[in-house]
Symmetry: C2
Subunit: 195 residues, 2 copies
């Protein structure tokens, strides 16, 4: 692998483990196994290297959300995507960035993160709208709202898992979400309105 790729891979790993602010160029070079000259030859500095690394990470993570558009009924796809294995204690490689002030205050990095969430939420909204059309969710469901609720459950699951140092809270949060969707499904066509 080229020095350049070694550097972006190392930066991606360190962004995940430590975040942007806490990762020094020295750390990246040591992990990549290249010298200082290499890094400043390929990149103007830490910032440009992080932009390249985070872009690659986002492509990877957002790619997985295409499963929301796979086979099965809309509700099945939603439940299947929610139930994908996620290592809670490691945190989300993208969502994690939002807690780093140096990322949020950096227009380039924030744009990458915001774009990732835009794409993912758009996919959620479409599958939810399809589920409503298919009669799998109540007709008064607001796709834009439920999309954010479900995305938040995944992001929040990571937070709970890290707070407790355990995988279980993440899995429990997802199971609770699936149960709520099942209940919402069960409420369709009963004619009962919320009190």
């Amino acid at each position: 692998m080229s020095s350049r790729d070694q550097l972006t891979d190392a930066m991606a790993a360190l962004l995940w483990e430590r975040g942007y602010a806490a990762t020094s160029p020295r750390d990246v070079m040591a992990r990549a196994g290249v010298g200082q000259g290499s890094m400043y030859h390929h990149f103007s500095g830490k910032h440009e290297l992080a932009v390249a690394a985070l872009s690659a990470v986002v492509d990877d993570v957002v790619g997985a959300t295409s499963q929301l558009e796979g086979e099965g009924s809309p509700l099945e796809r939603m439940k299947r995507y929610l139930s994908l294995p996620r290592q809670g204690t490691l945190g989300c490689r993208v969502g994690r960035m939002t807690q780093d002030p140096q990322v949020v205050e950096d227009a380039d990095l924030l744009a990458i993160v915001a774009g990732a969430f835009d794409t993912m939420l758009g996919r959620w909204e479409r599958v939810i709208a399809a589920a409503v059309d298919a009669g799998e969710l109540p007709a008064d469901t607001v796709p834009a709202e439920l999309a954010r609720t479900l995305a938040a459950i995944i992001q929040g699951g990571y937070v709970l898992a890290r707070a407790q140092g355990a995988q279980e809270p993440m899995d429990a949060a997802v199971r609770g979400a699936v149960a709520l969707l099942d209940a919402a499904h069960a409420s369709v066509r009963t004619g009962r309105r919320p009190i």
Copy 2:
């Protein structure tokens, strides 16, 4: 206010804004308006000061969850607590800490965060169990799971809000959660099971 309190208040504010790793003793002293000697007189160092500050923050934040035990039916209390105003783009003062490796790797600080979530989740579980007993939620609801789902929605709402630099995703996530609870409520006593 005493120098000691000035210091813990300043540290609490900086933990919220920047996190633990990114906050230097120098920052804290400048914000508190006291000299270096004062800080090292009252505290052994950055770590002990952070423990004191974070403990105070947790007492405050966890105190708000007592609203889950206030007046109204269990489901009403759940929806009311979910709908409390929260400044999404500022992030959660406690949940934020979980993304800071220096916090998660520090047994003292992690214990404070874990304890906060334990208390909060316990309150969620009790009000959920009460809602099930009252027939406001399906009988097969698992309180431990739904508690984590709802806590995750709030934590994830902060993540979404920061990712987009806007309050709206947080509020949308909560409205979607309330809608799901209403649908789950509507599904009770219909006899319909998830397909």
